[in-house]
């Protein structure tokens, strides 16, 4: 399971990450940051495979990707 952290103040809504994601995890958001950009959101996080293509194209280095070491069994147990 992966976590996508998009730095709310750093994103400039260029749309590169949304276009490059093979699983359509990311989507244009509607909330504006201090600079007035509509920050991108990881809308379908469950579809993320952790390929890090979004982070590779993000000019602002706004995207960090984390992987949880939780096993599927642990997750099901919750």
């Amino acid at each position: 399971m992966f976590l996508i952290n998009i730095d709310f103040q750093k994103c400039k809504a260029c749309g590169y990450c949304i276009q490059v994601c093979p699983n359509k995890v990311l989507a244009a958001g509607s909330e504006l940051n201090e600079k007035g950009y509509a920050v991108t959101i990881p809308e379908r996080l469950d579809k993320c495979v952790g390929c890090s293509m979004c982070a590779t194209v993000c000019p602002e280095a706004a995207i960090e990707i984390l992987k949880s070491k939780t096993t599927p069994q642990e997750r099901n147990a919750r």
Binding site: Y37, V57, K69
Partner: protein, 250 residues
């Protein structure tokens, strides 16, 4: 829940880094240079030389030592620094107006002397900071405020291919052109920057890395459409690849 990073923001970039337009690939260039500096554990022994142009905004990005040169003179300043501190990783970071117009003399002579520095050249085919004037690299048919709606070679000549020009000289050790438009190209570019820095740190000599970039603001388009322009117009005119590399690397 235990977490591990798949991708972490490079520590060589300041947390306050900002300044470029949305989608400007100057920022991507900075990011991959920072990743390489992190991987080489070189932040504390690097001196960057920034130019005049939007490229100077990078001075706010890196946590390395740095200086800013007069327009076009970054390679001359970098030579002086490197000759005084040969143990340091010294690179210049220059746009096409800076490197190929006002700084053409310094660019060529530094390469010709084979100075042991790395020149990183951001080719976005236009003057960014001053509002879209024609650069030496503006494509035939491309619009600019000083070249009109379509660059006409009968009036203003043809766009310079800087890698090919420098490849005529004896001394340079590494000459390569990459692009920043896609995941595979960005990964290649990062490898090339790392190769250039490694050659320098091994005392190998002059390296020149051109990065095909964008300027959606002055191209008067959107970031996503600017990638299309790079793929359809720029890369066909400026072919990607390693023009020269040290023998042991081949």
């Amino acid at each position: 829940m235990e977490l591990e990073y798949v991708y972490k923001r490079p520590s060589a970039i300041s947390s306050e880094a900002d300044g470029y337009c949305p989608g400007c690939l100057h920022s991507t260039a900075n990011r991959i240079i920072a990743e390489v500096l992190d991987e080489m554990d070189a932040v504390g022994r690097t001196i960057a030389v920034f130019p005049v142009g939007c490229a100077v905004l990078s001075a706010g990005y890196f946590l390395t030592d740095m200086t800013i040169a007069a327009h076009g003179r970054a390679p001359a300043v970098a030579c002086a620094i490197k000759r005084c501190r040969p143990d340091r990783l010294v690179f210049t970071y220059q746009g096409d107006g800076d490197l190929a117009a006002i700084g053409m003399c310094e660019t060529i002579h530094t390469a010709n002397r084979g100075e042991n520095i790395t020149v990183i050249f951001i080719n976005n085919s236009i003057f960014g900071m001053t509002g879209g004037q024609m650069a030496p690299t503006t494509l035939i048919g491309q619009a600019s405020t000083t070249g009109g709606p379509s660059r006409n070679p009968d009036e203003v000549g043809y766009p310079f291919k800087m890698c090919e020009l420098i490849n005529q000289l004896e001394a340079p050790k590494y000459i390569a052109r990459f692009a920043l438009d896609s995941v595979p190209h960005i990964r290649e570019a990062k490898k090339g920057i790392k190769r250039a820095f490694s050659i320098q740190m091994n005392g190998g000599g002059y390296s020149f890395v051109e990065l095909i970039s964008n300027c959606s603001t002055n191209w008067k388009t959107t970031p996503l459409k600017s990638l299309k322009f790079m793929r359809e117009k720029m890369i066909p005119y400026y072919p990607l690849g390693e023009f020269r590399k040290p023998e042991e690397e081949e």
